[in-house]
């Protein structure tokens, strides 16, 4: 029972943070709302019993990546965003696409409403050792390839940011 209550609380905070992220005018407020979203996601992971993933979510996303966001916003001293009248493409193309996407998701969810499997709360309560075995034995190649991908992205950023001599 207490799990369901906590799930509703943190799920609600997560959705509210995401909405606030879109509605706030000031970039700092938006970035802080994103941190709230990350934090409540970590709480949802904890409810599933995935302690390691929850801790890493806080350290990497809420701690490291969002600090960079907040710093860039503070140092650039970005002001309030200005509202344009909206582009015509977004009006004619974007709204129907979002509606189609939402309809598709709803359709699939309703179609598969009566599934015979369900994720239990606390279903992923496994020791950290098992995460390590999955990452460094079973899925070692995808894991290492992902890190190469990130390296390529860093190099790309350096090349783009470098000034031509």
């Amino acid at each position: 029972m207490i799990h369901q209550v906590l799930f509703i609380i943190f799920g609600g905070i997560c959705v509210a943070g995401a909405l606030n992220l879109l509605l706030q005018k000031h970039p700092i407020s938006s970035a802080l709302s994103l941190i709230v979203v990350m934090g409540s996601l970590a709480a949802l992971y904890l409810l599933l019993g995935a302690q390691f993933v929850a801790a890493i979510q806080v350290i990497v996303y809420a701690g490291a990546i969002m600090v960079l966001f907040v710093f860039v916003i503070m140092l650039l001293n970005a002001g309030k965003e200005e509202h344009t009248k909206g582009s015509r493409i977004a009006m004619w193309f974007g709204v129907p696409s979002v509606a189609a996407l939402l309809g598709m998701v709803l359709f699939i969810l309703l179609q598969r409403g009566k599934v015979d499997y369900q994720i239990e709360l606390g279903a992923f309560a496994r020791p950290t050792r098992e995460v390590a075995i999955l990452l460094f034995r079973d899925y070692l190649l995808p894991f290492e390839v992902t890190s190469v991908l990130i390296l390529v992205a860093i190099m790309g950023a350096v090349v783009l940011a470098r000034k031509e001599q």
Binding site: I28, I35, I56, A62, V67, P127
Partner: protein
């Protein structure tokens, strides 16, 4: 209304958690207040002064007077600040400073009126299992503390930015850059301990440092099993200690609040209780850093003389005996607190480029070298 046994158990569970949180938080806040007194006294003696002497014997009531002053002072809100963030920052600082306490274990179990409870806010044990029931605690306790520390950067960054003052902004930028840089060395210096304990749970890491029951000869001596000695983690210990000084913004790394350059750094614009909250957060962080050093390197609540059978055990009542491990834990923390103050009375402040150079060019490579050496030791010990 009658209570079903399940509901009764659930209510008892919540009540005990609340009592644990209240007791531990208040002990910590009291300890913070008296650490300030101890710091003023000790620094005074080191500089050939008396320190506080007027309020109470030896100035012992000085913390109470300070608290009263903080409460009754005018609470200024300077014009031009970003109001919601300006108010959020000190709250965040003190809340995160106290959050780490939830996972810190400070002893085994205590049995009161047939009810056994773990000496840790987030520790669980069978209430009817007696003194030897197994204790479950978060199996990533160490990561939770590191996570809370990494969120702590926001309190400082936001306080400086929302104050709309150049001293605050400079101080908060310095603090954030310093905390992010030293977090790397701090995190990496703990990897060796995690490998030796093969766990991220603070309680399991401490249990791995106890003298085995079947030990003979010099293996009986308790403190030789601490990670500092038996795990060859003294390099990691000094890296951790240095990084912890930087993380808590203490001298010699107190550039974020360097009085001679920045007035008071990121909390320049704060007054009254909001200023006190930053102060409490700083001291709570000192206690967390000292607890981690104790738990990971110095055997946690284990006595240094554990396992030496020729030392007679005192005939203590069971309720007092349950808190003997806590006594050792507190003693070790008190040593670190004294060490913080001692260093403050001894060393001058670093220059900012020296601080960054030291963190990135010396501490970070040293902590990586420590990981390599420790993994070699672990592999050698595991070899058949």
């Amino acid at each position: 209304m009658t209570l079903t046994p399940e509901l009764k158990d659930a209510l008892l569970f919540v009540a005990i958690i609340v009592v644990k949180i209240l007791v531990i938080t208040h002990v910590l806040l009291g300890a913070c207040a008296y650490t300030v007194w101890l710091e003023r006294k000790l620094i005074g003696r080191m500089q050939n002064r008396w320190g506080p002497t007027r309020v109470g014997w030896f100035g012992l009531l000085q913390p109470l007077a300070d608290a009263l002053k903080f409460i009754v002072k005018e609470d200024l809100l300077p014009p031009g600040v970003n109001r919601p963030l300006f108010l959020l920052a000190p709250l965040l600082a003190v809340a995160l400073g106290l959050t780490s306490l939830a996972v810190i274990p400070f002893g085994e179990t205590v049995t009161i009126a047939g009810h056994t409870e773990a000496l840790q806010i987030s520790g669980m044990t069978d209430p009817n299992g007696g003194g030897n029931a197994p204790i479950f605690d978060p199996n990533v306790g160490l990561l939770i503390i590191l996570g809370v520390t990494s969120i702590g950067v926001y309190a400082i960054a936001l306080s400086g930015w929302s104050s709309n003052s150049k001293y605050s902004l400079l101080g908060s930028l310095r603090a954030s850059a310093q905390m992010i840089s030293y977090e790397l060395a701090l995190g990496l210096s703990l990897v060796g301990v995690v490998m030796l304990g093969s766990s991220l749970s603070l309680r399991e890491i401490v249990n791995g440092q106890a003298a085995p029951a079947a030990a003979t000869g010099w293996h009986q001596i308790g403190f030789l099993h601490w990670n500092f000695f038996s795990g060859f983690q003294f390099v990691a210990f000094f890296i951790y200690l240095t990084a912890a000084f930087a993380e808590t913004n203490r001298i010699p790394f107190d550039l974020p609040e360097a009085e001679t350059e920045l007035v008071a750094g990121y909390h320049t614009e704060y007054s009254a209780m909001k200023f006190a909250m930053f102060f409490i957060a700083e001291y709570a962080n000192m206690f967390t850093a000292a607890s981690i050093a104790t738990l990971l390197f110095l055997g946690g609540w284990h006595s240094p003389f554990e396992g030496l059978s020729f030392i007679p055990s005192l005939p203590l009542p069971a309720i007092v005996a349950a808190f003997v491990p806590t006594f050792w834990f507190v003693l070790k923390i008190a040593f670190f607190i004294f060490f913080y103050i001692w260093v403050r009375g001894t060393l001058p402040r670093f220059r900012y480029d020296q601080l960054m150079g030291f963190g990135w060019k010396i501490l970070l490579p040293a902590s990586i070298a420590n990981i390599i050496v420790t993994s070699a030791i672990v592999a050698w010990r595991a070899a058949p």
